[in-house]
Amino acid sequence: MPLGAYLTLAALVFAIGLFGVLTRRNAVGILLGIELMLNAVNINLVAFARFHADLAGIVFTLFTISITVAEVAVGLAIVIVIFRVRRTVEADHLDLLRG
């Protein structure tokens, strides 16, 4: 398959993830959309690395995967704390900082 096929697939997954981030009300659902977007970027990185025969893209993908795991752990810890304090994880109800 040519490079363009992989990039198109990644762009589609990115758009779907963005749709999820924009439309979900639940904070966990928004996080799931972000995961999809990060995955699409990983496909791009690996595709470019493969078609340019450059190892840097593969190593960078390893780093992004690990950092994403850390991000999910911290993000979900924050969600759990918010649920403990406010008894909700609906993003629309979390307007404590609204002026």
């Binding site: 762009a11 758009a15 924009l22 439309t23 009300r25 966990v28």
Partner: protein
């Protein structure tokens, strides 16, 4: 149709269908299961790109780790699993318009790609090359990544600790 084209088409259909499942299903628990399918399909895309090591990392960290953590978070934040877990979405039309616009913007760059260049051959075993790179030119970022993971997990523990 070569076997690679067929495999790519199959995995692309599975990836797109499960991604749509993640954002469209009203049940958050089902969304996580669809996300697991999408993550495994992404790993298969890595396999098609001759990166079997990344396929293993994807399975272990994403499909294993992230999905488990998210399932726990859902169980901890829903008081009655099954009744309050259903959720509605909002701004469906606006969200679809905006993400379609983003896709069209990216596709505008994709059609300017130079004509398909053949895949260059990988020099040697990829897993060996990645291992050597991680202790060679990328040793410093690799160590920093370990530090970041420890700090992030300590931070998550600090946030989620029970009040004394």
């Amino acid at each position: 149709m070569t076997a690679e084209t067929l495999a790519f088409a199959g995995v692309a259909v599975v990836l797109l269908a499960s991604s749509l499942g993640v954002v469209l299903t009203p049940n958050l628990f089902h969304a996580v299961l669809y996300l697991a399918a999408a993550l495994v399909a992404t790993g298969v895309v890595f396999l098609l790109l001759d990166a079997p090591f990344l396929f293993g990392v994807q399975l272990l960290l994403y499909a294993g780790g992230v999905v488990t953590i998210v399932v726990f978070a859902i169980m901890l934040t829903e008081r009655l699993v099954g009744t309050s877990i259903r959720q509605t979405s909002r701004y469906l039309v606006n969200g679809a318009l905006l993400s379609a616009a983003v896709f069209v913007g990216v596709a505008g760059f994709l059609v300017q790609l130079p004509p398909a260049a053949p895949r260059p051959a990988w020099p040697g075993d990829l897993t060996v090359a990645v291992g050597r790179a991680l202790v060679g030119p990328y040793a410093m970022p690799f160590e920093l990544l370990g530090g970041l993971l420890v700090i992030a997990l300590l931070g998550a523990l600090y946030f989620a600790r029970s009040e004394p």
